[in-house]
């Protein structure tokens, strides 16, 4: 007890809890130590404010309307890459998800191997794979689709496995009690129960892939990204404005749609 202090925390000794203090101090120490590495410089930050404003000012130009048809074509390509890669990922992830679910896997060794494979697949960002695939198969949307599908199998397989692991055990036992075989149990008892979760996962992956597809063009893997970087480098702000706007609109529309679908699924489950 320290009666001299007017202020105290609601703890037995009036001081904040030790783990909290330790955590905050560790975080602050980490930030302080890494500040020179990240070149955090508040003077520079404040100094750049003028340039940021100038940049924002340059965005207020008449859009390059003649660019619109090409923009639409590129946006369509971006969306097509998103849909195609998500579709490929679904087909590949379903069997992998079953193998990687602890209650559906045929053998613990298979479970472990599939899990590790999935975590390897999702470890590197799409852009790195896109770089590699562009070097392998050349420029265009193909390496982009390959990179997107490859990485999202890693995520989707894991998410699918996790939704299969939490399905209700009773229904599974019910189907098994009626003499269903290995595959039948998985197809008729586990997958239907996990389906609402799957839809949520697919929406999430679609969203993720759209954002990723929009920047893959940076390394020549198709989509709007190439035009984005070029207009940035060539200071074509009249195009940049349109591109940023198009990305914003498409991402927001998908975001709202997936929010609505997800809340409908949750609602449907409650009823």
């Amino acid at each position: 007890m320290t009666p001299a202090l007017i202020w105290r925390w609601p703890t037995p000794n009036g001081l904040p809890p030790l783990p909290l203090v330790g955590g905050v101090l560790a975080l602050l120490a980490g930030l302080w130590l890494t500040a020179p590495i990240v070149e955090v410089d508040f003077v520079r930050l404040i100094g750049s404010f003028g340039r940021m404003l100038a940049f924002a000012g340059q965005m207020f130009v008449t859009p390059d309307w003649e660019y619109v048809p090409q923009l639409l074509a590129k946006m369509l390509e971006t969306i097509e890459m998103t849909v195609l890669s998500t579709a490929i990922a679904i087909v590949v992830s379903l069997p992998l998800g079953i193998l990687a679910a602890s209650n559906a896997t045929p053998h613990p060794v298979v479970y472990r191997l599939t899990r590790d494979l999935l975590s390897l697949m999702r470890a590197l960002p799409e852009l790195v794979w896109a770089l590699v695939f562009v070097s392998a198969v050349g420029l265009g949307p193909l390496p982009g689709v390959m990179a997107l599908a490859f990485v999202t199998v890693g995520f989707m397989g894991k998410f699918f496995a996790e939704s299969i692991e939490v399905v209700d055990h009773k229904a599974v036992e019910g189907v098994r009690a009626h003499g269903a075989g290995w595959l039948q149990v998985r197809l008729f008892a586990m997958l239907p129960q996990a389906l609402p979760d799957f839809v949520g996962t697919v929406m999430y992956i679609l969203d993720h892939n759209l954002r990723a597809a929009a920047i893959l063009g940076l390394v020549g893997a198709g989509g709007i990204g190439y035009d984005l970087v070029m207009s940035m480098r060539l200071f074509q702000y009249d195009r940049l404005l349109l591109i940023a706007l198009a990305i914003y609109v498409v991402v927001t529309v998908l975001d709202r749609a997936s929010d609505r679908l997800r809340s409908r699924i949750i609602h449907g489950r409650r009823a």
Partner: protein, 259 residues
């Protein structure tokens, strides 16, 4: 002098349900009032209006002469404490911190957002916890306590506000008979010793009879009885618990026979 004055209050919810249809009542300072009635009678809405958790569609509620409205709601709430059926404690905070939330309105937000409290506030919290007999649980997390204990923390939180009025919305509906008895005795004792005005919503007739100075019976959003417990006869109970459109209600008679 009346602590609470309710003047021709009605409340219609956005979905069209009319919870209160013109209520007038004066509640004397330092009294123990029980609002009795079947579920859906509007008891809860009436209590929530007094704390500003709902706003009346027409009419007004005054606490100590001050009208409860949007702008003054925090000021009013600091003097009108509320005890809930589901206790409504913050599960992950300690019992003391939950009690200390009762001091929030009395302090500026600068210290309190960092969970810093004055020594005197801790004294008030300790005193409140002693009153409800939970000082040994002070540092436990709120969700580790039993229902009866959680409700006593709820009452300690109300006491820490140093309120003029304590409103209790079905405080014993989620508790076993022994805990219910304890909670009602505690509220009665607070009323008698501290002179705090207590208004309790109940649906149990026997508890109302034993603890109240005054009973307000409600049915269908209207006051159908207002008087002392001994004036509450079997026919009065019939009016309070009468269901709309049912003339000869044998199940009601049977239920009331045991009340």
């Amino acid at each position: 002098m009346s602590a609470i004055s309710i003047q021709s209050v009605s409340k219609r919810f956005p979905n069209g349900f009319e919870a209160l249809k013109g209520i007038d009542a004066e509640i004397r300072s330092g009294s123990f009032t029980v609002v009795l009635g079947p579920s859906g009678a509007g008891k809860s809405t009436l209590l929530r209006l007094m704390n500003g958790l709902e706003t009346p569609t027409t009419g007004m509620v005054r606490i100590d002469g001050e009208i409860v409205d949007r702008r003054k709601v925090r000021h009013i709430r600091s003097r009108v404490a509320m005890v809930f059926q589901q206790f409504n404690l913050v599960d992950r905070l300690s019992v003391v911190t939950n009690v200390l939330t009762g001091r929030l309105a009395h302090r500026s937000w600068v210290g309190s957002v960092f969970y810093l409290f004055r020594q005197e506030d801790l004294g008030i919290a300790r005193e409140a916890l002693c009153r409800v007999g939970l000082i040994d649980k002070a540092w436990s997390r709120a969700d580790k306590l039993s229902g009866g204990q959680q409700q006593r923390v709820g009452i300690a939180r109300a006491l820490a506000q140093r309120p003029k009025v304590i409103l209790a919305d079905e405080p014993v509906a989620s508790l076993d008979p022994v805990s219910s008895e304890e909670i009602m005795t505690l509220l009665r004792e607070i009323c008698d010793r501290d002179g705090i005005t207590v208004v309790v919503n109940l649906h149990q007739v026997d508890l109302a009879r034993r603890f109240a100075d005054r009973i307000i019976g409600m049915n269908g959003g209207r006051i159908v009885f207002d008087g002392k417990p001994e004036e509450m006869t079997q026919s009065v109970l019939r009016t309070i618990y009468q269901r709309e459109g049912i003339e000869d209600d044998t199940s009601l008679d049977m239920a009331l026979a045991y009340a």
